[in-house]
């Protein structure tokens, strides 16, 4: 358990360092870097312009730039958004809660729906019993997240915050298919057949002998779903006009505000890693013999 914890912490630290390096390199090499419009101000004296150039020259060394970028990142100073003319930390503080709320509810609803339909399919077992859920999951899997959001917008305003339902529909097919496969393979194992032969009720067999043994593998889905939902949040928030981090990333891309975009990317990667690590740790604590591998197997 302790070694797993240390491994996860090391993974997160490596991601921060390498992700920060990649991010700093992207910002450093990005168009517009090193250009200061104050240099065009004819009212400034030659000395002032020279001072501006000297100030910027410190950032030309990529190593120094990386060090400064990373140290300010770790202090919570994520830089300044050129396009929105505000500090990145302030923008994130404003938008992150909304995205996290949508993501949390969307992932919860998607996983619940997928799991419920998978359980129902395994319990019912009649030929063609999985036709409707399979069709629904196939359609959701074949449609881009943006199209799912558009269709939900058309359905009507009674849905409330559409982005969370769209995220749920993006997560649902993956949850359903994975859960169904896990449950079906468990349902075919000898101990389940023996339980059925002894005359146990179908609900009891399903709960105690199919669902419970498969639960650790199913729980691993939560970690993967978060990463999936973060990716889907960009087109969904843009289409639904939800002022969250996904929409912010899109605006940053359109305005070529790399400082903002790279910071969001590194932060989202960090959050995804933390959730995945927590899922792995929870699994290890739940079932030490197989927990640590369940997350990787599902991934």
């Amino acid at each position: 358990m302790l070694s797993l914890l240390l491994r996860q912490v090391r993974r997160i630290l490596v991601t921060v360092l390498v992700g920060g390096l990649l991010g700093a390199t992207l910002v450093r090499l990005g168009p517009g870097f090193g250009v200061d419009e104050r240099e065009l101000d004819s009212r400034l004296s030659a000395d002032s312009q020279q001072a501006i150039r000297l100030e910027r020259a410190k950032e030309n060394n990529i190593g120094m730039f990386y060090f400064r970028y990373l140290s300010s990142f770790l202090r919570g100073d994520f830089g300044f958004s050129r396009s929105l003319n505000r500090p990145v930390a302030e923008l994130l503080k404003q938008r992150l809660p909304l995205t996290l709320e949508s993501l949390g509810l969307g992932v919860f609803c998607g996983l619940s729906l997928g799991l419920a339909l998978a359980l129902l399919t395994v319990w019912w077992r009649a030929p063609g019993s999985d036709f409707v859920p399979a069709l629904l999951s196939g359609l959701c899997l074949a449609a881009p997240a943006a199209v799912v959001a558009l269709l939900l917008l058309w359905v009507g305003p009674w849905l409330g915050e559409v982005s969370r339902w769209a995220i749920a529909l993006v997560v649902f097919p993956h949850a359903y298919r994975y859960a169904k496969n896990q449950l079906v393979s468990t349902a075919q194992s000898p101990h389940v057949v023996a339980a059925q032969a002894k005359g146990l009720s179908s609900w009891r067999v399903l709960w105690a002998h199919v669902f419970t043994p498969a639960a650790p593998q199913l729980a691993a889905l939560a970690g993967i779903s978060v990463s999936l939902a973060f990716g889907a949040s960009i087109p969904i928030e843009v289409i639904c006009d939800t002022p969250g981090v996904g929409q912010l990333a899109w605006r940053a891309a359109m305005d070529r505000d790399l400082t903002l975009l790279v910071t969001i990317t590194v932060l989202v990667a960090l959050m995804t890693l933390i959730v995945n690590s927590l899922a792995d740790l929870a699994l290890a604590a739940w079932k030490p013999s197989s927990g640590s591998t369940a997350g990787s197997a599902a991934a």
Partner: protein, 269 residues
């Protein structure tokens, strides 16, 4: 191959043939404007009507299908090639090389795909010619989509390297390059092919999302993603339901690809 897969294959074949023969089936070019027929409903001349600029929607759909269906496999090929080099090297060399390359793959996988795609896309010029935008979009997809396949290829290579016949070949003194080219690579072919086919629907969907966000293929060149932007106008779609043709075709094609690939089996591992 079951009946559903045969139907899916037939549908895909029809779509591919129609898109390749776009010049023959469509009555006009994708960029030709009919200024006296702006936003007209379907007719004998315009099978899916025209858009707000008076361009034939059916022609745009066929040419857009061609762009998406030809370039997604090209991007998948690039991604599989990069994955084969990195994953194959990791599995074949083993030891510290394997640890190093696997850590790189894991790190790449932990970065959110669409966020990374946006970040790199924003670094590149946005105002480019249509053809350049197509190349940029699909090169990006190919260059950033290798990490998942690389993981599978590494695992496959590792299994092969430890297999009896390769250990025996190695023990009998065959050179490493001969071992790689004659014995390892041919046996890796099924994994490489599977990863190639799996990447295609993923790249089609990514292009559609990018196109809808305005970061994909530039006008006037059509692609599924770019054509989906029309759907944002809800009232126009209600009045002209034939505007849904691109989304129906996209879902049908990706659905057919998934049926052929047997997605359910794949997701279980």
């Amino acid at each position: 191959m079951n009946l559903k897969q045969k139907i899916a294959l037939a549908m895909l074949a029809v779509v591919v043939v129609a898109s390749l023969g776009a010049g023959y089936f469509a009555q006009s070019s994708y960029s030709e404007q009919f200024r006296d027929a702006i936003s007209v409903p379907p007719s004998a001349h315009f099978w899916l009507g025209t858009d707000e600029l008076g361009r034939d929607r059916f022609a745009r759909l066929l040419y857009g299908t061609r762009v998406s269906l030809l370039l997604a496999p090209a991007a998948a090929l690039l991604a599989t090639l990069i994955a084969a080099i990195i994953g194959g090297a990791a599995g074949y060399l083993g030891g510290r090389w394997e640890r190093l390359l696997t850590s790189g793959v894991d790190l790449f996988l932990s970065l959110p795909w669409l966020f990374l795609l946006l970040a790199v896309r924003a670094l590149l010029p946005l105002n480019t010619s249509p053809v350049t935008s197509v190349v940029i979009t699909f090169m990006l997809l190919g260059c950033l989509g290798w990490a998942g396949p690389a993981r599978m290829i590494r695992a496959g290579t590792r299994t092969l390297v430890n297999s009896d016949f390769l250990v025996q070949a190695s023990a009998s003194g065959i050179s490493r390059s001969r071992l790689f080219w004659r014995h390892l690579l041919p046996n890796l072919r099924p994994i490489l092919l599977a990863q190639f086919w799996i990447s295609i629907p993923l790249f089609i969907l990514s292009e559609a999302n990018l196109g809808l966000l305005g970061l994909g293929v530039s006008e006037p060149l059509p692609s599924w993603g770019a054509m989906l932007r029309e759907l944002e106008n809800y009232t126009a779609v209600l009045r002209n339901p034939w505007m849904l043709a691109p989304v129906i075709l996209l879902v049908a094609v990706v659905g057919c690809l998934q049926l052929l690939l047997g997605t359910e089996e794949r997701l279980s591992c």
